[in-house]
Amino acid sequence: MLRFLHQFASPPTFYRRSAQLLPWLAVSTLLLILFGLYQGLWLAPPDYQQGDSYRIMFIHVPAAWMSLFIYMVMAFSAAVVLIWRIKLAGDFVIASAPVGASFTFLALITGAIWGKPMWGTWWVWDARLTSELILLFIYMGIIALNNAIEDKQLAAKAVGVFVLVGVVNIPIIHFSVEWWSTLHQGPTVTKLDGPSIHQSMLIPLLAMALAFKLFYFLVAIMRVQNRILSDEQNKTWLKRLLIQ
């Protein structure tokens, strides 16, 4: 495992390998999104209770899943940065932060829009939305910390530590917010859950979730490539590559 990580982590090989991967990622993301939308918006029957407003679920729920999934991937690569000191893992953490923030923001907005017909107001301090909001602040903290430090290697380590501190705290925040919201509004308020998911709705949901994951890796790899370009500007392997 370690040998693989080191071998894969040298900028030239990463740049070349990922360049081949990008087109496949882009195409499969697009196809999956189109498939998910077609299934979710066109084919799936309206829900007997919420009518068609539940269709927002196909973007809200995958985005909410992504906000946590991306954080977990960042925590793993932060550990790789701090333990095995692989520079690229640091670039990957910093490349993932904006994507994670965007999905968290997307989950918040679509959650609020979905809640409007149900609760009559644009924002309700519902447990899930509050946790998403706090997660968004943590993502913003990560981006702000990274921008505040000039030395990229120092920034990677500082951000890595902060991400790991966050990983310990996120479950605590999540459960205390859940607990807080039950006593705050009482359990009567219908949670932001889709109807009992049966087969025709599960397919678009999973399709969109997979599409978002591929999208995340697509964007993260592109951002890491940009960092490699800026770090290795005057390196010969890059010049030769660009001449081709």
């Binding site: 939308l37 918006l41 066109w42 084919l43 309206p46 009518g51 068609d52 407003s53 269709r55 927002i56 973007i59 809200h60 985005a63 904006p98 994507v99 965007s102 999905f103 923001f105 997307l106 907005i109 679509t110 829009i113 979905w114 409007k116 017909p117 999208f215 697509l218 964007v219 592109m222 951002r223 490539q225 940009n226 370009l229 800026s230 500007q233 005057n234 890059l238 010049k239 660009l242």
Partner: protein, 58 residues
């Protein structure tokens, strides 16, 4: 199966579902365009630097 009018009207929730997906599309596009634009800038500046080096060497 729904035809076009039903799709847009979305059982009365059209003006909730479509803005949500619109924002979703905007966020995804933003995340794609920014790195692409940066990559272009980076490549341009590197190639320019190469020309300058080549000019100084000759």
């Amino acid at each position: 199966m729904m035809n076009i009018e039903q799709l847009i009207e979305m059982g009365g929730y059209g003006n909730y579902v479509w803005p949500a997906y619109g924002i979703g599309l905007a966020v995804l596009l933003l995340n794609i365009i920014v790195p692409l634009y940066k990559k272009q800038q980076m490549l341009k500046s590197i190639i320019e630097a190469q020309h300058r080096d080549k000019k100084n060497d000759t």
